[in-house]
């Protein structure tokens, strides 16, 4: 059942079709809408429960008390004193992260956000640790 030159007609057809590759990086890369990229942090929502730190499989995330804390809200007449909400910072080690987004799923306050950002390469290792305030 050998039929030579099966591939030739196909090769000739390919002369007339658009290339399958894209012109990235000169052209924007197509990313699926739910792609798991860099994890972003929304500080006002975070309550510092450390659940994300515990669940992360690659020790990529650190949640620390912020150096500058917001002042307590002014006391309203006749009401008890309201303590200031503590502010937390997030250190994300992009070189450790495996982009599984498990932290996003675990966070009880939706303080971590999955973005579609994937262009994260850098020439300096230090720049791979992002400090989100």
């Amino acid at each position: 059942m050998i039929k030579p030159a099966r591939i030739f007609s196909e090769v000739i057809k390919h002369l007339f079709i658009k290339p399958a590759t894209s012109g990235y990086p000169f052209e924007k890369a197509k990313i699926m809408p739910n792609f798991r990229g860099r994890i972003d942090f929304d500080s006002p929502k975070c309550i510092g429960c450390q659940m994300c730190v515990k669940v992360c499989p690659s020790k990529a995330i650190e949640i620390r008390l912020a150096a500058i804390q917001p002042p307590a809200p002014a006391q309203v007449e006749g009401q008890p004193v309201v303590a200031a909400k503590r502010k937390f910072d997030c250190f994300m080690h992009l070189d450790h992260c495996v982009y599984c987004a498990q932290c996003v799923e675990t966070c009880p306050k939706d303080a971590l956000i999955m973005t579609q950002d994937f262009e994260l390469a850098h020439t300096s290792r230090a720049a791979l640790t992002r400090h989100y305030k």
């Binding site: 030579p4 699926m32 739910n34 669940v55 498990q102």
Partner: protein, 397 residues
């Protein structure tokens, strides 16, 4: 003619993975072959013991870059069995869908690699271009092309919407058409026949004796497939054929894989058309009661076996992975004998080896030229001595 022994590998013996083959040559013909493993040991089984069950899942996903879903599914099936969790039907169906998409991706990849090793690079370019379609399906459903992370303990992480279903069907229909063309190329093109027929022979009796698995065994006429022998997930509800071929050579392995692609497309359509309704996950407690479990899974390369021992904490006590390539390497040594040197890369590639999945600890002593396997006690002693030299004493533990 005098005999010479040449080492093939560990740098890129066939694929870009480290493995060593010692070939005894008489002229251009091979009269003996030994396989040496151990260049890619990553200590994953040990690392799993210091992680929680959920973290271990992400670790085991990285045992292999192609069978990532196979390894996690086998592992979490063990966890769920020990936790006595009842997994919703919809979750099982989605797992099966990803498993079949993964098989399509892996077999198309193999077809390209085989084309490349034959010197038929046009086939390599075409298949790898078309494989992008299935990778896009996986990215669409799971959020990543390679490590899908679709599984979670108790179910799956993402649901499938109606638009996604339509998109996957559309792409699979395109692939069906392309695969029909590849079947023609594979079976009728003289280049393919000349390079693969009667190369890397593995008679059925030898395949059985050496415990070949997956397409390697099926190309020797052995009807062995975990999906049929011991159906897991929802394979018992799907209608598909077990593909075998009886030429016992690389050509047979090619035919089995391309025909399996067709069966996978059939299954993907069946799942998409009858996706059961309901929840996609149930809650499973962090701590797993003490017990042991073993599960089998038909990965694209063959039977994958996982063993899990739990001790009542939130971390596994022992995880053991037996990847399909380990089972097939015994057959490779046989297939190489009597063949020609120029066919070696193709024969090795024909089992679709995945060395990084396969490597477990073994120690090679170059002075004595000896290979030794270490037991648990010796390993422990070795570890304690190693750390003592660095000033840490673990012997009390």
């Amino acid at each position: 003619m005098s005999k010479i022994t040449i080492p093939l590998g560990p740098q890129h013996p066939a694929l870009k993975e480290p493995e060593n083959f010692m070939l005894v040559l008489e002229g251009e013909q091979i009269s003996g072959a030994t396989v040496n493993l151990g260049y890619n040991h990553r200590g994953m089984e040990k690392a799993a013991e210091s992680r929680t069950y959920l973290q271990t899942m992400y670790l085991l996903e990285r045992v292999c870059g192609i069978c990532s879903h196979s390894h996690t599914t086998t592992y979490i099936t063990n966890v769920e069995e020990l936790a006595k969790a009842e997994i919703p039907q919809r979750a099982l169906a989605i797992r099966t869908l990803i498993a079949e998409l993964e098989r399509v991706h892996s077999h198309l990849l193999w077809l390209g690699v085989a084309g490349y090793e034959m010197g038929f690079e046009t086939l390599f370019m075409y298949t790898w271009r078309d494989r992008e379609q299935v990778l896009d399906c996986l990215e669409l459903l799971s959020g990543n092309r390679v490590h899908y992370s679709m599984n979670t303990i108790g179910g799956v992480r993402r649901d499938i919407s109606i638009e996604q279903k339509a998109e996957v069907s559309r792409r699979i229909k395109f692939l069906e058409e392309r695969t029909r063309y590849y079947i023609k190329i594979g079976t009728e093109e003289p280049t393919v026949a000349a390079r693969t027929a009667n190369v890397g022979m593995l008679p059925p009796a030898v395949a059985l004796e050496r415990g070949a698995v997956g397409p390697t065994a099926r190309a020797s006429g052995i009807a062995r497939d975990v999906r049929k022998d011991e159906p897991y997930l929802i394979y018992d509800q799907l209608d598909f054929k077990l593909i075998t071929h009886n030429t016992n050579d690389v050509f047979g392995r090619l035919v089995v894989r391309v025909l399996e692609l067709v069966e996978s497309y059939k299954m993907i359509h069946q799942i998409l058309n009858n996706l059961p309704e309901g929840p996609i996950a149930v809650k499973v407690p962090m701590k797993i009661a003490p017990g042991e479990a073993v599960n089998r899974y038909e990965a694209p390369r063959g039977e994958d076996i996982h063993y899990l021992k739990s001790n009542g904490t939130d971390k596994p006590e022992r995880v053991k992975v037996r990847a399909p390539t380990l089972a097939n390497l015994q057959s490779v040594a046989y297939m190489l004998e009597g063949g020609w040197l120029a066919d070696v890369p193709l024969v090795i590639a024909a089992i679709d080896p995945c060395m990084s999945c396969t490597d477990r600890a073994s120690v090679w002593d170059p002075k004595k030229g000896k290979m030794a396997l270490y037991g648990w006690e010796e390993m422990r002693k070795l570890g304690i001595e190693h750390y003592k030299k660095r000033g840490v004493n673990f012997s009390g533990l």
